[in-house]
């Protein structure tokens, strides 16, 4: 007992743990006064700018602040996901613009990924003609400005024939100068029944998967069975509730085309432009990713008796995704930002609505703060999502 006490007193205390102030001081680092002075100078400069802006606004009689959001906007919006008429509030107009931006970016990311993977794989083909064609496609799209490509697609969309003369592809897709008409798919019947069916079947499928997972019996076969079961449940519930899916093909009636889904020329041009440009970038990423997997991996997989499809799915893709995912993330971010070029071809995205708002209200500072805030939020959310996915595909146990 006494030995222990002696031992305890013999311990030499280390330096005291830094307190909160000490931690901040250590984080702040050297040259403390100089840093403070620099940041203070920047803050002063910023204050000067803001004061000037406020002064100018006061002189021309504009009240600073976000109060203008609830006043009515006297302009029309060509197309929007939510109903908008002239006279609705600016908040609603800006929301409509934001939804348009989100719509075109999301569709663009998905379609560019699909097309990009196809082109990337085609570029790796041993066929000289195909890989050469892909090479030229990529070089041309990469080395000309996106805005130029958008102008080109816009000119093409405007040069399409009028609805009456428009050719129909498979009697379902019409390319006209009033936009692209594609078949639409919708559910008719009791909306409550539809919602209930999806909720019930979704809950059922989720519960099944969770139960399998918890009991440790989740394999490819049982998982597929659970999904098939819930899809069957959806269909059953839908038929029971009296709802039925209706596919409607556009058709010529009179001078115009009715039915189906109409993509405006601006939207179609913007979407095609973004998809084409970014599919070329993604194709390059996919090619680099697949080539980063060594030839030894292919040979080893062949020696194990796997066929080509299995090699791609089980050996090459999981490794290539480690290279591909972070690079595609930045492509998605760029695509979202580049969707702002919509303003140049007249698609009412967030940027063009913000521009109109700034011009009609004079509240340019507030409008631009909203714009920058919205894009920062989208970017941060998108990169957070992609980071989660990246953590799933990244090499386990590697040094980070």
């Amino acid at each position: 007992m006494s030995d222990r006490r002696v031992f305890r007193t013999a311990i030499v205390p280390g330096p005291p743990r830094p307190g909160t102030f000490g931690k901040i001081r250590a984080w702040w680092g050297g040259w403390p006064i100089g840093q403070l002075a620099f940041l203070a100078a920047l803050a002063f400069l910023g204050w000067l700018f803001v004061a000037n802006v406020l002064g100018t606004m006061a002189r021309i009689g504009i009240l600073p602040g976000f109060g203008f959001l609830s006043s009515s906007a006297n302009f029309e919006i060509g197309e929007s996901a939510i109903a908008f008429r002239a006279g609705d509030t600016y908040l609603r107009a800006i929301s409509a613009g934001l939804l348009n931006t989100l719509k075109v970016s999301l569709l663009g990311c998905v379609l560019a990924t699909i097309l990009g993977v196809f082109i990337g794989v085609a570029g790796l083909s041993r066929n000289l003609l195909l890989s050469g064609l892909v090479r030229w496609f990529i070089e041309i799209t990469r080395n000309t400005p996106l805005l130029l490509q958008l102008f080109f697609w816009m000119a093409l969309a405007k040069a399409l024939p009028a609805p009456r003369q428009a050719p129909a592809l498979f009697d379902a897709v019409f390319l006209t100068n009033r936009g692209v008409y594609i078949p639409s798919l919708s559910l008719e019947g009791a909306p409550f029944g539809v919602l209930a069916a999806f909720a019930l079947a979704g809950a059922l499928g989720g519960a099944l998967l969770l139960a399998l997972r918890l009991s440790g019996r989740l394999t490819r076969r049982t998982g597929t069975a659970a999904i098939v079961l819930s899809v069957a449940a959806i269909l059953l519930l839908l038929t029971l509730s009296g709802a039925r899916p209706v596919a409607q093909a556009p058709a010529l009636s009179g001078f115009n085309i009715r039915g189906g889904l109409n993509l405006s020329p601006e939207f179609a041009a913007l979407l095609i432009g973004l998809v084409v440009k970014f599919s070329a970038l993604i194709a390059e990423i996919v090619r680099a990713g697949i080539q980063s997997v060594g030839a030894g991996q292919w040979e080893a997989a062949r020696a194990l008796g796997l066929h080509d499809g299995q090699i791609i799915r089980l050996v090459v893709l999981p490794q290539a995704l480690r290279v591909i995912t972070p690079l595609t993330t930045s492509s998605y971010l760029d695509l979202t930002k580049d969707s702002s070029l919509a303003v140049a071809i007249g698609f009412p995205d967030l940027v063009s609505i913000i521009n109109t708002t700034a011009n009609t209200t004079g509240q340019s500072m507030e409008a631009l703060i909203i714009l920058i805030g919205a894009f920062l939020t989208i970017n941060l959310a998108l990169s957070a999502l992609m980071n989660i996915y990246n953590n799933r595909v990244a090499l386990r146990g590697s040094s980070r």
């Binding site: 700018f49 000309t144 102008f151 080109f152 702002s340």
Partner: protein, 351 residues
């Protein structure tokens, strides 16, 4: 030749018809090309009008007469005709300094002096110094504007970017936080938004004593914007330098700035040059956004040329000319980047 031809035939045969799947792909690609190329050829050559005026042009074929008539406008936009030698000289000056910067044998202190001088000379030439009437920036346009804005902004953004990158890597918490916030803010905002800030906010924010014209405001904001992108590329280079380099420099008694200037930055720049070239290509393409705020850069000049009442609507031809100009510059630059990467890699192996 006698030995080369059979080998070429052999390569083509296996490359095009090696296996059954390969033959199918070749045939499918040929069908695809046969749908696209003949109409294109008919438009560009067979049905095209090469000389004459707008009335001679048909809508079925390309109107190359338009290009010969409007090429001067596409290249120089509204610049006074009798002074056209000035923007032409600017193109030559910028081409010369870019070529010199591209060749490793010219890398050195003299380039650092030559760059600001060239930019100053371009600015003076553009403004019409030593002529009776100064030329306002709203008369500038076309290729010189595109190249000038690109070169000025890239050159001015690089020193800012070095400071930002160093701050982001430093142990000074305040500066590091500022740098991170600045870089993320700029990289999260689309360039169109930055241009709107230049158009709408900057005139209000600056004191009345300072009034900048549209071109200058755009240049200031684009410089600040690109600095964030360049800073990230330089940071990647800084991160690649082993810590031993800094420790060795400290052991030799070098202070922070001399360590960075003499040891770290020269090595980091060597690593990031290919990345910077790629960035520069992207920036050149991005200058076309100047059209959004009504500056007549190359692309906007092309658009305006087809809005001429005498030559209305020849947009395809105008865009094609501009696309070729952009393509030649950017394709050349990307080839150069690849060559440089190989050369630098070879250099570091010898060292």
């Amino acid at each position: 030749m006698t030995t080369a031809s059979p080998r070429l035939v052999q390569t083509l045969r296996t490359g095009l018809f090696g296996t059954r799947a390969n033959t199918l792909i070749t045939l499918a690609t040929l069908v695809f090309l046969s749908q696209i190329l003949p109409p294109l050829f008919r438009w560009a050559v067979l049905d095209a009008t090469f000389v004459g005026d707008a009335a001679a042009c048909t809508r079925e074929g390309a109107c190359w007469a338009f290009v010969t008539a409007k090429l001067r406008f596409i290249l120089f936009a509204f610049y006074p005709t009798e002074l056209i030698w000035r923007p032409a000289l600017i193109i030559l000056l910028l081409a010369a300094i870019l070529t010199a910067s591209a060749l490793p044998r010219f890398w050195g202190r003299s380039l650092l002096v030559a760059w600001p001088l060239t930019i100053l000379a371009c600015w003076l030439l553009m403004q019409g110094t030593f002529t009776s009437t100064p030329i306002a920036s709203n008369q500038w346009g076309g290729l010189p504007v595109t190249l000038f804005v690109w070169a000025v902004c890239f050159a001015a953004a690089t020193p800012i970017a070095v400071l930002l990158a160093l701050a982001r890597r430093s142990t000074l918490g305040g500066l590091r936080t500022f740098s991170v916030l600045y870089i993320e803010l700029m990289r999260g905002t689309p360039m169109v938004g930055i241009l709107y800030v230049a158009m709408l906010i900057l005139p209000m924010a600056l004191p009345d004593a300072i009034s900048l014209d549209k071109m200058l405001r755009a240049i200031v904001m684009i410089t600040l914007f690109w600095a964030a992108y360049i800073a990230e590329v330089i940071r990647a280079g800084l991160q690649a330098i082993p810590i031993g380099q800094r420790e060795a420099a400290t052991a030799l008694g070098l202070g922070y700035w001399r360590t960075q200037r003499l040891v770290i930055l020269p090595q980091a720049f060597r690593i990031v040059i290919p990345g910077m070239v790629n960035l520069a290509i992207g920036f050149l393409l991005a200058t076309s956004l100047l059209a959004v705020i009504g500056i007549f850069d190359l692309l906007n000049a092309a658009r305006a040329s087809a809005a001429d009442p005498q030559w209305l609507g020849f947009y395809n031809e105008a865009y094609l000319v501009v696309a070729v100009i952009y393509f030649v510059i950017c394709f050349g630059a990307s080839r150069y980047s690849r060559w440089l990467e190989k050369r630098l890699a070879a250099g570091s192996k010898h060292a």
